[in-house]
Amino acid sequence: MNETAPIISIRGVTKRFGPVTAVDDVSLDIRPNEFFALLGPSGCGKTTLLRMLAGLEVPSAGAILIDGHDVTGVPPNRRPVNMVFQSYAVFPHMSVFDNVAYGLRVVKTPAGEIEPRVREALAMTQLEGLAARKPDQLSGGQRQRVALARALVKRPKVLLLDEPLSALDAKLREAMQLELVRLQHSVGITFIIVTHDQNEALSMANRIAVMEAGQIRQVARPAELYEYPNCRFVADFIGKMNLFEGRVVACEDARVHIEVKGVGRLALPADQIVAPAPGSEVGVAVRPEKIRLHREPAPEGRVRLRGRVSEVAYFGDASHVYLVLEGGPKISANLQNEARTAVPGVVAGDELWCSWDPNDTLVLTR
């Protein structure tokens, strides 16, 4: 996996704004041709990290290497990366053509070269025919394409995208997600996208770094991130999760015994866990869609719990069922509405069993 040299290498980078540490000792390698996502809640430092890659912020400590060269102190206009800004920052007083040509003109590209390159970039982003328009005559989606074309025409080694889809409505956002992936394939360069929308990150990126409080919590492929989160924050941030607090009682026979408050003792396979020491506090988590509901006691070999339905939330394709377990805690389960008649199967007040495969349980030490 690691035979290719990273296109971007972030080494121990810290950024402080006065007393606030926005990015805290982050190290990260990004490989060529990756579609990489920086995901996290607002204020986690992801945008600051991206702006340091672009050169718009200077790190307080650490180094940034692009394609093997240290660019830590290099100003933004001398870096081989370009950015699509959150507001798109399409120059309002220039036509679409002039916007795209601007980056070529300021570096004194020969005049004969500008026109074909701009046309090519406009074609790539499906903006042919809009070259003479002013930004105020464009829709939000078109403006974003201009921002993309303007960055891509520079043939950067890396394209940086700061929340590129947040200003678009839901329908357009979905279409643009597919388009960005297609574009990344066709230009064959690294895309780094900053987003707070997990669906966006999961559906577009090859790899995702989840950030919180200026630090990277986990870097993984989308499926790995979803199924094997390495800490409570990531487990809770990505998708829905039932999360309980527990204490490790014993480790024996490749099984970990955990006492979960209000649930009881669970025996879980130890293979996927970095053997927690007995006595340590851990989080026990299971995703709602992994849970089955039964009228009768569930089969042996599964984790089984009894509870009463408190609420059912209907979402069309699925329903979320909330159970109050006998011991007190709440748990939610997904019920796929597979057939029309399946809809009202469960109502509030029902006494049910829920169960899940012990292998689907996550034990989180952090």
Binding site: N77, R78, N82, F85, S87, A89, F91, Y102, R150
Partner: protein, 306 residues
């Protein structure tokens, strides 16, 4: 009255236009539409207040303008239309001199005040430094202190440092011009800064990101964005200078009189149609300049690519 024409024009008019009762009925029904909760301007009392206010605001000015064309020295009753007093004003050398002085001062003031104002605006927008609130307070002083205080201060200042009073013509206006710049450039700064508040910093960053240096980004992105603000600021500087009476009154020498000062001295002695004519010209210039400024501010011109 004229409402009928509008009504018949809008509706497909099943009733013949000549059928007056029909249109009457139509109109009456429309007027009886209940007034919406926030349609305050449809209440007669508010209309009356606005109408009276505007009438009071305009009556004196319109009378002044109308009587600059009145063929009567005593200027009480209308005696027919004439340009006589404009001609008289045109041949009044001291009036024309004052007018030339005013325009010259206003033009030089506009150039210097605009440059200084834009510098201050960009400076305050761009930089953070210790003592900034104090600096901003000092910049606002010429705007807030009473004009007469500034006027007497400038008078004392030029007298004390012995600013030469007998310079050849354009230089003889230097003391007035200097005073005008000092009070008008903070206004330019306020206007340009207001425009900068709405500036999306990402536009400038995008320029850096695309390869532009600091001065290129300033020239290509920030200044074009500021252009409406700069034009508006320049025209404000122009009208402030052209209109200023108080500060000029204190800094002007006997040989360097501006139009407002001249009008003041004429008004003090008598009310003549000549004053009306001169005033009308000044009113016309300021209004044209301001209307121009407003029209130039609307972005309609598109620059061709390539």
């Amino acid at each position: 009255m004229s409402g009928e024409a509008v009504d018949t024009g809008l509706s497909p008019a099943p009733v013949a236009a000549a059928d007056r009762p029909g249109t009457r009925l139509n109109r009456r029904r429309r007027q009886r539409l209940p007034i919406g909760p926030l349609e305050y301007t449809r209440h007669w009392w508010l209309r009356l207040i606005v109408a009276v206010t505007f009438a009071l605001l305009y009556a004196p000015i319109l009378t002044l303008i109308a009587f600059s064309f009145n063929n009567s020295r005593r200027n009480i009753v209308w005696r027919g239309f004439t340009f006589k007093y404009y001609e008289k004003a045109w041949h009044n050398d001291s009036l024309i001199d004052a007018f030339t002085n005013s325009l010259t001062i206003a033009l030089i003031n506009t150039v210097i005040a605009t440059v200084l104002g834009v510098l201050v605006a960009i400076f305050l927008w761009r930089f953070r430094f210790p003592g900034k609130p104090v600096y901003e307070g000092f910049m606002a002083l010429p705007i807030v202190i009473p004009e007469i205080c500034m006027g007497v201060a400038m008078m004392a200042f030029f007298a004390r440092i012995g600013w030469p009073r007998d310079l050849p013509w354009p230089l003889s206006l230097s003391s007035i011009t200097i005073a005008h710049v000092a009070f008008s450039f903070p206004f330019v700064a306020v206007i340009v800064r207001a425009r900068l508040v709405g500036f999306n910093r990402e536009l400038e960053e995008a320029a850096y990101d695309l390869g532009a240096g600091q001065w290129q980004a300033m020239r290509d992105i920030v200044l074009p964005y500021l252009r409406p603000g700069i034009i508006a600021g320049a025209l404000i500087a122009f009208t402030l200078s052209l209109d200023d009476f108080v500060i000029t009154f204190f800094t002007a020498g006997p040989e360097t009189i501006t139009l407002p000062v001249k009008i003041f001295s004429m008004v003090r002695f008598s009310v003549t149609p000549e004053v009306n004519a001169a005033s009308t010209v000044l009113i016309l210039i300021t209004i044209v300049a301001t209307v121009l400024a407003m029209r130039m501010q609307t972005p309609s011109r598109s620059e061709g690519g390539g």
